[in-house]
Amino acid sequence: MNLPSPGDHVKSRRLRSAVVLGVLLLVLLALPFVLPSFYLFVATRILALGLFATAFNIVFGFGGMPSLGHAAFFGLGAYVVGIASTRSDLPFVVIVVLTLVAGTALGVVFGLFNLRAKGIYLLLLTLALAQAAYGLAFQQVELTGGDNGISGITREGVPIPGSASAFYWLALAMVVVSLSLMWAFMRSPVGMAITGLRESESRLAATGYRVGSYRVYAFAVSGAFSAVAGLLDAYLLGSASPSNMAFLLSAEVMVFAILGGAAFFFGPFLGAAVILSLELYVSTLTSRWTFVLGIVYVLTALFMSDGILGRIAYLRRRARRKTAESPTRAAAGETDVAVPADTDDLVEERHT
């Protein structure tokens, strides 16, 4: 058989990924010209929550730490905007920096609390921390407006404040930059070590890594970008409220990640887009929309626990294998275990 050399394969794969990403970016850039204003609003919201889901996945999908408290970071970002923009006239850039600093700091706190906790204990600890943050937001009325939240957040400080399209492009730019940074981070030695946390923490520790510090790094980076997502959402909605910090949001972002495919970099983003669209569509059709979404979640958990991208990668592998099928392989008994290296860059499963 005339097989291409491995080098060619990698090159063509990279090229294809670059082309796909480039086309996708062009489409996203052109959206304001074709979408009615309402759908542009929804698209901007998907960008913000997609960024949130991607940031969350650093801890969840890559670090293997099931955090149920990520709404705290998102809400923190929203409140930084709410407080800074209604009580001061700080420039936008300063607010972004403040958000990043606040998100990182809270991430460090989360990380330090979770130096050793694993699995269900980590889940409970992060939930408790987030509930504490929620309680603060609810009770510190002077600062946060209590259960009424902070409303009337204007985009005055934002570059080109008036137009919805301009804000969409700003959000798109911030999301693209954030995703690129996270992508690069996950491929850095620190990012690799974070993935190592998921694969085998004990082996990582045995090779001399200080596993605790990588947990803190993961939470810090994830927290910083989650806060940026909260910032975008607050500017978009014009309000910040305790529901930005609520348990429901923490659970929802986990569903985004799982439905899209938590083992993939772009899985959570896709999950956020799918669920937000579905939510909008179904709730317009019927008041029993929570029921429909519930069914989707259950079916996902039962039949698609590796998410949409996981399913696509799996089907692709099957197709590829079928074309290259030889009697010896069949005899050797093929397995259906996820084979990471064999997938496209876009749906890359493990950062090898």
């Binding site: 009615p36 204003s37 309402f38 609003f41 929804v42 919201r45 609810f138 009325v141 002077e142 407006g145 209590g146 259960d147 009424n148 939240g149 409303s151 009337g152 959402d233 909605l237 014009g238 309000s239 409220s241 305790p242 529901s243 930005n244 429901l248 579905l278 939510e279 909008l280 569509y281 179904v282 709730s283 317009t284 059709l285 019927t286 008041s287 029993r288 929309w289 929570t290 029921f291 429909v292 069914i295 989707v296 079916l299 996902t300 039962l302 039949f303 698609m304 399913r311 799996y314 089907l315 099957r318 259906d336």
Partner: protein, 426 residues
């Protein structure tokens, strides 16, 4: 795993989603949860038509309230054959899902996609605060039917109107009444620990103390407190009256604990604590509880008779303030539309709304210059009537506005109630 087995779940998932989405679908192209009345074809009246966006919760903790508001609105609309002042009314319902993010999205959907000319609804004040600025900027009037935060109606000449109460509006007359008419000189306040609890308690405490009586204790419990025993046992037994602001399911548990511990201090409550949605559940425990509210199903006037008859015929249960809020909102809209000439624009409806004066089931209703309703407030007592527990009207305070008897400018200088919380008993 064979290929067939691998694809089956995907197919099942897709099919199930589509099937379920299809279940609720009635008119996908027109969008919106279709109204019971007049769904399908667009209503066209002699003067034109108007799309009304009902933005009330259909899921979550406030679903029962939201559904009653919607039902009240649609009942009035039905009784007028789907037209208000010869404008055909197309109702589109969306669910704010008790979340400011979803609610803001839904408000935009109503206005930008469904072409709503007015948005009516909102239960959660946090959601109302988030949604109001958008509707203001879009020039679409907003009529609030439940959300009670005082601060929502503090801007003159806006496009926001509210037929329901502000947190303190219905309790301010109560402070006066309990001190002067009932002669109960010391009060212990039991409230829920969030804005509405502070505002309702604060309104009572302000007038109660200004009338010369004394608040001796303030207790605040978190929303959805399961065990009321620790709070009930703390209540100062020397107080002449317990003033309670415990709406919703908290009311049921509070009263149960209160009776269970054998407290016999009379209770005066903010009216939502003895709401008709709760009375059948509370039963004996609510016996004799007094409260103040702008509505009771047993008010004796022709408008209320029409409303109660229409409601009980359709739903076979008591009316309540939420259903009346919806009904009154429809009446107010009808009155406003009768003043609008031609195309019902946002500005046109807003301007007409300012001069609205109607005979609602609750009695006379009009709006102040801040958009807040002025109405009679009733002093009520839970009594058994024909085998059913009702809020019997024992006294009426006419034409109560959101500032009660205080001078507006003076009132607006007062610190907000969240800052005053905890200071009344000192």
């Amino acid at each position: 795993m064979s290929k067939r087995r691998a694809t089956r779940p995907l197919v099942a998932l897709t099919a199930a989603t589509l099937a379920l989405a299809g279940c609720g679908s009635q008119a996908p192209s027109s969008g919106g949860v279709s109204a019971d009345s007049g769904s399908g074809s667009a209503q066209e009246g002699a003067n034109g038509s108007l799309t009304v966006g009902l933005l009330n919760p259909l899921t979550g903790p406030f679903a029962a309230l939201g559904e009653d508001v919607n039902a009240g609105f649609e009942l009035y609309l039905d009784s007028k054959g789907g037209q208000l002042s010869d404008y055909g009314i197309n109702v589109v319902k969306e669910d704010p899902a008790n979340d400011p993010g979803v609610a803001t999205t839904k408000a935009r959907q109503l206005v930008q996609q469904e072409g709503a000319g007015i948005v009516i609804g909102l239960v959660n004040s946090g959601v109302a605060y988030a949604v109001a600025p958008y509707l203001e900027s879009a020039g679409v009037p907003l009529m609030i039917t439940v959300a009670g935060a005082d601060g929502l109606t503090r801007t003159k000449g806006g496009n926001l109107f509210r037929v329901s109460y502000t947190g303190s509006q219905d309790t301010m007359p109560a402070g006066d009444y309990v001190c002067k008419e009932l002669g109960l000189k010391t009060a212990a306040i039991v409230g829920l620990d969030y804005s509405f609890g502070w505002e309702a308690s604060g309104g009572f405490a302000r007038t109660y103390e200004d009338a010369g009586c004394k608040v001796v204790q303030e207790l605040y419990a978190p929303l959805a407190t399961q065990d009321w025993a620790p709070y009930v046992t703390q209540i100062n037994r020397d107080a002449d009256v317990v003033f309670a602001v415990t709406p919703g399911s908290d009311a049921v548990r509070f009263l149960k604990a209160y009776r269970g511990f054998g407290l016999d201090t009379p209770i005066f409550a903010q009216g939502s604590t003895t709401d008709e949605q709760l009375l059948p559940t509370m039963g004996e425990t609510a016996d004799g509880v007094m409260s103040s509210l702008h509505y009771s199903p047993v008010i004796d006037n022709p408008a209320n008779k029409t409303f109660v008859d229409a409601w009980t015929e359709k739903y076979d249960r008591s009316t309540n303030q939420y259903a009346e809020d919806g009904w009154a909102a429809a009446q107010a809209l009808e009155a406003a539309l009768s003043d609008v000439k031609g195309e019902p624009t946002g500005d046109g409806i807003t301007n007409a709304m300012r001069n609205v004066s109607i005979d609602a089931p609750r009695g006379a209703l009009r709006f102040d210059e801040y958009g807040q309703a002025i109405y009679d407030v009733y002093m009520r007592k839970v009594t058994k009537q024909d085998g059913k527990w009702v809020n019997k009207v024992v006294d009426t305070v006419p034409a109560v506005n959101q500032f009660y008897t205080y001078d507006v400018d003076e009132y607006l200088q007062f610190p907000p109630y969240d800052k005053l919380k905890g200071t009344w008993a000192k």
